[in-house]
């Protein structure tokens, strides 16, 4: 019997497929593919085959895998670390098996978020992968992640004010396109620098004190526009400077800096309250110190770390007089309700500003 060719695929998480491409293509002896772009069908497939009460990212990523499997993918990649996310791989593998897809699941970390663990996981699949080879790929991965997150941060703060619509997005996409074939970290770095300059030279007409709205919360829903009904796009179209906490870089840092987060939370947290909740609180506190007008907290339905954070965020909101809006996303795809709430939140901030200036 012929053995099917192995084709590996990671789920869609914002623009991070670039990172998955670099890591998997260069470290595995498998072919790789991207899952088809997320659509309503992805969501429906994922939801149909998932436990109803599970967090939303489980459903969307399972939908990604099913659609990829239909197109020939048979090796799926999950981090296997974090909150319930740490168990997604096991259950998703079971569901895919039950659906009759003959597939393999690669768990990158298995509860231990270290580089050593990542190498162990990858080299157990590809025994030819030497430590040196892995190190050089990992160096590129880190560089590209940090660069793309920095570029996207800059973009979010300025995109609402670009003079030629589309300049920022075009520049950012061009960076992603070019950097994915960088051969070593030096090349990745110089591509990053080139695009940093390019992006900084885009003409904007940013006012002196634009409305600033912060976005915090569960990373998947923050990062994946399909899952948050394109919130950032709406805000940018309405002239808002967006300050987002939530990126792969930040999450990686957050894993190792829990003590600092507790310290930087203005006394609202006394000890580690688990997973990403510490970070959400520390970030919100910091945004308020830096003069934010309002903060939107997003989470998938039933996300326990963020539900823990919410109760404390409510205290921070009351003490600081900075309004917070809490949004829960599940498998709904109608943007109307989200836009209604965003518009009201934005109106409120604009009116508040106006009255303060009078």
């Amino acid at each position: 019997m012929a053995i099917a060719e192995k084709v590996a695929c990671a789920p869609q998480i914002g623009d991070y497929h670039i990172i998955a491409d670099i890591l998997l293509q260069r470290c595995l002896n498998y072919k790789t593919m991207r899952c088809p772009p997320m659509t309503k069908r992805t969501l429906e497939l994922g939801a149909r085959h998932s436990p109803d009460m599970i967090c939303t990212p489980f459903k969307t990523t399972l939908g990604n895998f099913i659609e990829a499997a239909e197109q020939g993918a048979n090796v799926f990649v999950m981090p296997g670390v974090g909150c319930r996310l740490g168990f997604y791989d096991i259950l998703q593998k079971q569901i895919l098996d039950d659906l009759g897809y003959d597939c393999e699941m690669i768990t990158l970390f298995e509860y231990i978020p270290t580089v050593k663990r990542l190498y162990a996981s990858l080299s157990s699949i590809n025994p030819d992968l030497t430590q040196e080879e892995f190190d050089s790929v990992f160096e590129i991965v880190v560089k590209v992640t940090v660069d793309m997150d920095n570029l996207a941060d800059f973009m979010r703060r300025n995109i609402a004010f670009e003079v030629n619509k589309g300049d920022f997005e075009q520049c950012y996409q061009a960076y992603l396109q070019e950097v994915k074939s960088a051969q070593d970290v030096t090349e990745a770095e110089s591509i990053g620098e080139k695009y940093k300059e390019k992006m900084e030279s885009i003409i904007t007409n940013k006012p002196g004190k634009p409305v600033k709205i912060g976005i915090i919360g569960e990373i998947y829903v923050v990062v994946e526009p399909f899952s948050n009904c394109n919130m950032e796009k709406w805000l940018a179209e309405h002239g808002v400077e967006i300050i987002r906490s939530g990126s792969l870089t930040q999450m990686a840092v957050a894993i190792f800096t829990v003590d600092e987060q507790v310290q930087n939370s203005g006394g609202y947290v006394d000890y580690n309250i688990g997973s990403t909740a510490n970070d959400a609180i520390a970030q919100a506190y910091q945004m308020i110190q830096d003069g934010i007008d309002g903060i939107i907290h997003v989470k998938p339905a039933s996300c326990s770390p963020e539900i823990t954070a919410m109760t404390i965020l409510q205290n921070i909101s009351q003490d600081s007089n900075v309004p917070f809006m809490y949004m829960t996303f599940d498998t709904e795809t109608s943007e109307a309700g989200v836009h209604t709430r965003l518009e009201a939140f934005h109106d409120m901030i604009v009116m508040k500003r106006r009255s303060e200036n009078e």
Binding site: R41, T42, S317, T328, T340, R341, A344, D347, M348
Partner: protein, 315 residues
């Protein structure tokens, strides 16, 4: 010429219209069921208003709010199309200038708006879950074979409201059936439901919010005296319900219209115009965007709903 401003609030259950003069005085108003046909409802509201309105007034701007605000905004060529949260805040402030908290329970959603010195400082709206909204009460009234109008009266006669789980509509309903079967009186159950809706609202929408007097309660459910009583008991604050509470959203957009610099005279003969809407599903990708096309006298007026360029051809 005396200037007047028209605001229309097209909600899921009812459609409200109001015309105000330059001092926010209500000149004419109308309140009708939407009955699943927002365009027909708006035409009826406009007919009623144009009959009531003194002919010396000219409507110089029109605005829409509520869940069908976009559709009706396009059809009427409205100058202001505003979300219902902002509209309610502006409308209520016009009537109760010192209001600090607005509680709102409508047919499909509920919200809380906190105001300080006439400025909205915080708000919340239910997401995902419709427990604790008007449609919950009306479906339970049906189950108990009661007219919604008699609901409050019966509830007020109860001295010992039954405890009904308030967290979720589905659980509340099973709880309600259970209480009925073990023998609680209808009055106690109905009173329990009114209490459940208040607790649910305060636990979900009002969670963590600092509710201060003056408190104004509005939306369809504010017509229910038993719910008002439960709110007062729970908040330990007087709760004010304006007789025009149901018009606040419409009033709010009318006030916003007044602030607009440009004016377009509104022609009530628009009720004779034929509007047709059509929902088309785009089949160019598996997103299957729902595209809404609005035709005025058989000419395409506007279309929306597509998430990418692929859909534009369909309309």
């Amino acid at each position: 010429m005396n200037k007047a401003y028209l605001g229309i609030d097209i909600g899921s259950i009812s459609t409200k219209g109001v015309v105000i003069d330059e001092n926010n005085n209500v000149l004419a108003s109308s309140y009708l069921w939407t009955s699943g046909n927002p365009i027909a409802a708006v035409k009826n509201v406009l007919n009623e208003i144009s009959q009531k309105l003194d002919k010396k007034y000219t409507v110089v701007n029109a605005g829409t709010t509520g869940s069908a605000r976009k559709l009706i905004g396009v059809a009427l060529n409205a100058r202001v199309v505003k979300n219902e949260i902002t509209a309610h805040a502006v409308g209520t402030l016009a009537v109760v200038p010192d209001v600090k908290t607005i509680l709102e329970i409508g047919g499909q959603d509920s919200k809380i708006i906190l105001i300080n010195n006439g400025v909205v400082i915080d708000y919340a709206m239910n997401t995902l879950c419709a427990a604790g909204t008007g449609s919950f009460l009306s479906s339970q009234a049906k189950r108990l074979d009661l007219e919604l109008e008699d609901f409050a009266e019966l509830a007020l006669t109860s001295e010992n409201p039954a405890k009904i789980a308030a967290r979720c509509t589905v659980f509340a309903e099973s709880d309600l059936v259970h209480k009925a079967q073990i023998g609680h009186s209808k009055a106690d159950i109905v009173a329990g439901l009114c209490r459940a809706i208040v607790l649910n609202y305060l636990n979900n929408v009002g969670k963590g919010k600092n509710i201060k007097a003056p408190v104004v309660f509005q939306g369809g459910v504010s017509k229910n005296a038993a719910v008002i009583k439960e709110f007062e008991k729970e908040l330990k604050l007087p709760v004010y319900v304006d007789p025009n509470g149901h018009l606040m959203g419409a009033l709010g957009v009318a006030v916003l219209c007044k602030a607009e610099k440009e004016e377009t005279t509104f022609d009530f003969s628009i009720t004779d115009t034929d509007f047709v809407t059509k929902g088309v599903e785009c089949t160019n990708c598996p997103n299957n965007c729902e595209i809404i096309c609005v035709y005025k006298n058989e000419v395409l007026l506007d279309a929306w709903g597509n998430k990418c360029e692929k859909g534009t051809r369909i309309a």
